[in-house]
Structures are given as structure tokens and as C-alpha cells.
């Protein structure tokens, strides 16, 4: 049984197959095309400063999209990441007034862990659909945050300098946020590809019954997963508040839908079992560049949104066409 085809494969087919085996390459090509278009429309915009800004804004999105990637691998979704990120950001900014930053951060991550735990138990043990579960906890979290907010109206808010440094600072033109992001990204990629836990995420999402017969305890995997997702979202919140420097009760909510979109554009299936984090990172970059592109274009807001939708659709369709080897 040979692995070679019968006749020599034409170059086009070979190129397609090459891309299909490395789905990252076409995705990166699409990203580059967008950047080039941007440069053509606004000559000179693609400079060091722009690059740094893009990366700074893509990072929080990419981390949240990482949460989505991991939960989507199991066939789930985590809609509470926006609320969790906002909560930890807001709580940290208000607690740091009276506490040491380290303590404030720890306090801020407590609700993240709690929400993750509740999500995980709801999904893993009680088998609530993840969409409903995380939507529910997100509502609950928002309510709690508002109640909390009332107790700290007068205490003011502060952003610890080192978070601002991390969020907005540059070192030799390179965003400091990468110091946080690179380890997180490497960790996620390694977890997905090289650890037992990662394997189980794929397995559980692909065929839960089969995973069970192999001795996998679903609830353990899912609970751990949602806690991890929530903690990552909490960390994102801390980074994001360092970047935006304005604690608000809806700080990270606008990132939720894009985080799902980034994961899907990056090739992760919402039905589980398929996908990876590297694609998601590119997906987040694509979305960020696209946002810039549309901000820069002077046209009515309605037309901007139409264009945004069409480009997202086109990019995803093109990507699927390229990597599909049928």
C-alpha cells in the first residue's frame, strides 16, 4: 500500500496540498494581504508605531480567543470571558486603592476562579449547555459587579503602574505585553499539542462517549477547562485595564463576539475536536487589522460595517478553500 499517487501531481495541487498540511501559511498570507491593502489605502500607516498598537490590541483579544479555542475544542463556548475580564479589571482597579497591587490582583482573580468553577460544574456535572451556562454566569457576574460597584463609588480607582507599563509600554518599540502573551501562547499551544490534558480536550470534543470508554472523566476535564479559561480571562482583564486605563463596567464586553470570531477564523470548529491556537492568534490579528482598516476608511458607519462583514466572510471562505484538500 503506497502513499504515492499514480501520476505526477500538478504544481497547483501540490501547492494546495502543501498549504492544507500547514493551514497557518494561507492564514498568514491573508493577514499580509490585509496589511498591504491598508498600506495602499493609507500610505505610510504601516510603521513601527502602528505595528506596536496593533499587537497591543490584538493580544487581549488573542488571549480571550484562546479561551474560546480551548472551550470550542470540547464543543463548548465561553461567553462569560468578557464579564470575567471586566470584573477582574474593575475589582483590581478599585481594590488597589486600599491594598498592595499583588493582593488586589489576587482578590480580583477570585471571582474569575469562582465563575470558572461554576461554569465547569454546570457544564461538566449537570450537563447544562455551555452557551446557556456561560451566558447565565455572565449575567450573574454582571449583576454582582454592579452591586459591588456601588460599594466602591467613592473609593476611586487606580491602575498600578506596572500594569500600565505592561499594557501600554514599549521596549525598543516592542510592546511589553508580549512578555505576558508569549509565555501564555506557548503554554496554550504546548498544552494543546503536548499534554494529556490537551489531548483530552480534543477527545472529549470529538466523541465524548469514546473518551469515556477510554477512562476519561468528563467532568474533571471540563471543570479544569472552564477554570483555566476563566483565569485566563481574568488575566486578560488585568492586562486590558493596563492598556485602556479606564475601569468601566463594560470594559471587555465588546471583545466577546470578536473572540469567538477569531477562533473560528483561525480554523477551530465550534462543534469540537478540531482546531488549534496558532490559527486563533492569526485570527485575532486579522480582526484587529480589519478594525483599523475600517476605522481609517472614511465612509459612512453603515458602509463600514457592511464591508467588515463581507471581508470576514471572504477571508474565512478563502481560507477554507485553500486548506480544503478534496
Amino acid at each position: 500500500m503506497s502513499t504515492t499517487a499514480i501520476q505526477p501531481v500538478p504544481f497547483g495541487r501540490r501547492l494546495k496540498r502543501f498549504m492544507a498540511d500547514r493551514p497557518l501559511i494561507p492564514l498568514i498570507i491573508l493577514l499580509v494581504i490585509l496589511v498591504v491593502v491598508l498600506q495602499i489605502l493609507r500610505p505610510g500607516i504601516v510603521n513601527e508605531r502602528w505595528l506596536a498598537n496593533t499587537i497591543k490590541f490584538a493580544i487581549p483579544l488573542a488571549i480571550l480567543a484562546g479561551c474560546q479555542t480551548m472551550t470550542m475544542l470540547t464543543g463548548g463556548i465561553d461567553l462569560s470571558v468578557g464579564t470575567v475580564a471586566t470584573m477582574s479589571a474593575f475589582i483590581m482597579a478599585t481594590q488597589v486603592v486600599n491594598h498592595d497591587p499583588a493582593v488586589a490582583i489576587l482578590i480580583a482573580l477570585v471571582p474569575a476562579v469562582l465563575i470558572g468553577l461554576v461554569n465547569g460544574i454546570g457544564v461538566g456535572v449537570f450537563r447544562v449547555h455551555p452557551l446557556i451556562m456561560t451566558l447565565g454566569t455572565s449575567l450573574i457576574g454582571t449583576g454582582c459587579l454592579q452591586v459591588y460597584q456601588r460599594t466602591v463609588i467613592a473609593s476611586g480607582a487606580k491602575i498600578p503602574p506596572f500594569l500600565a507599563w505592561l499594557g501600554t509600554g514599549l521596549t525598543y518599540g516592542v510592546p511589553n505585553a508580549l512578555l505576558l502573551f508569549v509565555p501564555i501562547a506557548v503554554l496554550i499551544v504546548l498544552t494543546l499539542n503536548r499534554t494529556g490534558f490537551g489531548r483530552l480536550l480534543y477527545a472529549v470534543g470529538d466523541n465524548e462517549g469514546a473518551a469515556r470508554l477510554s477512562g476519561v472523566r468528563y467532568w474533571q476535564v471540563i471543570t479544569a477547562l472552564y477554570v483555566i479559561s476563566s483565569v485566563l480571562a481574568g488575566i486578560t482583564g488585568l492586562l486590558y485595564i493596563g492598556l485602556i486605563k479606564a475601569p468601566s463596567l463594560s470594559l471587555a464586553e465588546p471583545l466577546v463576539l470578536p473572540s469567538v470570531a477569531a477562533a473560528v477564523i483561525g480554523g477551530t470548529s465550534i462543534f469540537g475536536g478540531r482546531g488549534g491556537y496558532t490559527g486563533t492568534i492569526i485570527g485575532a490579528l486579522i480582526l484587529t487589522v480589519l478594525t483599523t482598516l475600517l476605522t481609517i476608511l472614511q465612509m459612512p458607519e453603515g458602509a463600514r460595517r457592511i464591508l467588515f462583514g463581507l471581508i470576514v466572510l471572504f477571508v474565512t471562505a478563502a481560507y477554507l478553500r485553500i486548506i480544503e484538500d478534496r
Binding site: R42, G44, I45, N47, R49, W50, N53, F57, T142, Q146, Q149, R150, V152, I153, A154, S155, G156, A157, T168, Y240, L243, I244, K245, A246, P247, S248, L249, S250, L251, A252, E253, P254, L255, T291, T292, T295, I296, Q298, E301, G302
Partner: protein
């Protein structure tokens, strides 16, 4: 004061925004301070005009004596307001006008808000130059009212050009990303007008070490603080008091007690505090309140309309809590 006897219903359709939270707290504080309110029924969530119709009708079902409403849309909730008036309920719209003629209105003048700030900005840059126009949420009626005011001012300064117009959606993060993107294009600009997403804009200018240009924003605590402290920043805060909610309660109580105002509509005119003149600086100094949540407007009270203390609004407690 008089004995507590009224139940007041409140309907608001934006949640999680500092201005609206202040409005709710002002309503609570004023209800408590008046001593005439036994209970507040507050429907406070993110929804649209149809959802507000639902909330108002629920308040009618709850048989409140008066409804204070921040309308999602002036015309969209007409039918429910009409039903409320028919049911003998006093209706007071705050922040924005409504088209229902039986309703009383105590409103911030949104058109004037934009006009005042824009005019100051255009004068500040010498009547000519390029400005960045950072609007609120596309499709929101407050945004289109402000757009009218802005355009009115623009018409008076033919040499001023809008080089960049974007919708922040009243979201801090989006505003910041948008201005940074714009700065990165290298296009020159002489001033920035914002629809209340202001302190992140100043932040972005400082961070990216772009020469500071005049910035107009709202009287949010964060921005007012920046106007006082950021070296070289020229700017103005236009008041847009969230405490208008408290004024709404006062007006409702007056009507319930038989003291109808002469006019159906009361407009609270905005003020402009700039940090160029000594007088303006003084105003800003006295208004600044670093202890306040940065998203809260610093104008936490409206003279003659609100009677609560600062402690009361910050405590954010209504009657019976």
C-alpha cells in the same frame, strides 16, 4: 418634610455605564432625601425601545404613582407613556425629550451640549484646522441630537474640517484603539471632539507621545482630573449631569403634590469648563473629585433640583434599603 406616600417607577435602558449608574444613584438618593417616597421600582437593563415599553407597562401593572424614564427613543415609547398617563400616573422623562405630550420632561440639552463644546474647540484652534470627531453609538438618538449641535457649530466655522469621523459606541476600549489607529496614520490634526469617551483619548495622546491638541469631553471625573493635572493639555469639559435623574424625581414629586410647572419641558443647560482661562481653571478645580469613579460625571447635583448630599448619592441607597 411631608410623610412618605409615593411609589415611583424608573425605567432605564443602558446598564454598566458610569453616567447611567450615577443617574440611578441620583434617583435613589433624591427619593430618599425627599422623604416622600416609600418605594422605588427600578427597571434598569440593557434593552431597546420595545423592551422599555415592556418595562413601563410592567410599572403600570405595579401601580406606581409616577414613572421617571430615560427614554431609549423619544418616539418609540409613546404608546406606553400614554397608557401610563391614562392610568393616572405622572410621567417624567429625563435626559431626553419624549414625543408623548402628556409627559413632563426635564432634560439635558444634547444639541446644546455638542454645540457648546464644538464651538469652543473651533475657537480654540483659531477657527481653522483639522478636527477629529469621535461620536457615540451609531443609530442612538442622543448621538444624532449631538450630531446636530456639532454640525451647527461646524457651519459657523467654514475653515474647520473634520478629518476623521468615527463611532466609539461609547466604549472606552474602542475609542482608544480608534484614536491610536488614527495617530498611526500620521495625518495631522488640530483638535479632538469626543462624545464623552474622553480620558482614554488624552491617555492615548500622552502614551504615543503625540503633541497634545485641544480635547473636548464631558465632565467625567477622570477627564476633569486630567484637565487639571496633565501637563500641556488644553481642553474643556461640558457638563452633562447624570444627576438629572434626581431632578426627575423632584419634578415628579412636585407634580404629585399638585405643583405643576409652568412648562411641560424643563431644559437643564450645559456648562462648559475649560482650562485656559483662570476662571475656567477655578471651576475645574472646584469640580474635580478624584475620589469619584472616573466614569462618573462630577456634576453630582443640580442646584434647585436636587437636595441630597454627596454622601447620599455615593451611598446609592433608596428608600427602604
Amino acid at each position: 418634610s411631608a410623610e412618605a406616600k409615593y411609589t415611583i417607577g424608573v425605567s432605564n435602558t443602558v446598564q454598566g455605564n458610569g453616567w447611567r449608574e450615577e443617574m440611578i444613584c441620583a434617583i435613589k438618593a433624591q427619593a430618599l432625601a425627599s422623604g416622600e417616597v416609600t418605594k422605588l421600582n427600578i427597571a434598569h437593563r440593557n434593552t431597546d425601545a420595545a423592551g422599555q415599553l415592556e418595562d413601563i407597562r410592567n410599572l403600570i401593572s405595579a401601580k406606581v404613582n409616577a414613572i421617571v424614564v430615560n427614554p431609549a427613543d423619544p418616539a418609540g415609547i409613546k404608546s406606553a407613556l400614554e397608557e401610563a398617563t391614562k392610568a393616572g400616573i405622572v410621567v417624567v422623562a429625563v435626559d431626553q425629550a419624549v414625543t408623548e405630550p402628556s409627559a413632563y420632561i426635564i432634560s439635558n440639552n444634547q444639541e446644546q451640549y455638542a454645540y457648546l463644546g464644538a464651538k469652543w474647540l473651533f475657537q480654540q484652534i483659531g477657527g481653522k484646522g483639522d478636527v477629529v470627531y469621535m461620536r457615540g453609538a451609531a443609530g442612538a438618538s442622543a448621538d444624532s441630537d449631538r450630531d446636530k449641535g456639532f454640525k451647527k457649530a461646524l457651519a459657523e466655522f467654514p475653515d474647520v474640517k473634520v478629518v476623521h469621523e468615527v463611532f466609539t459606541g461609547w466604549q472606552q476600549d474602542q475609542g482608544k484603539q480608534q484614536i491610536l489607529d488614527f495617530i498611526a496614520t500620521g495625518a495631522p490634526f488640530n483638535g479632538i471632539w469626543t462624545s464623552g469617551i474622553d480620558n482614554v483619548i488624552v491617555d492615548a495622546l500622552v502614551e504615543s507621545q503625540t503633541p497634545l491638541v485641544p480635547v473636548v469631553g464631558a465632565d467625567n471625573a477622570g477627564f476633569v482630573g486630567q484637565l487639571n493635572s496633565v501637563e500641556g493639555l488644553v481642553g474643556a469639559a461640558v457638563t452633562n449631569p447624570g444627576s438629572i435623574g434626581g431632578a426627575g424625581v423632584t419634578l415628579a414629586l412636585q407634580i404629585l403634590n399638585g405643583k405643576k410647572p409652568a412648562e411641560q419641558t424643563v431644559l437643564v443647560e450645559p456648562q462648559l469648563w475649560e482650562n485656559v482661562t483662570a476662571e475656567g481653571k477655578a471651576k475645574l478645580k472646584s469640580a474635580a473629585d478624584p475620589s469619584l469613579s472616573p466614569e462618573w460625571p462630577v456634576s453630582i447635583s443640580i442646584p434647585e433640583w436636587t437636595t441630597y448630599t454627596k454622601e447620599q448619592i455615593i451611598a446609592c441607597k433608596g428608600p427602604g434599603e
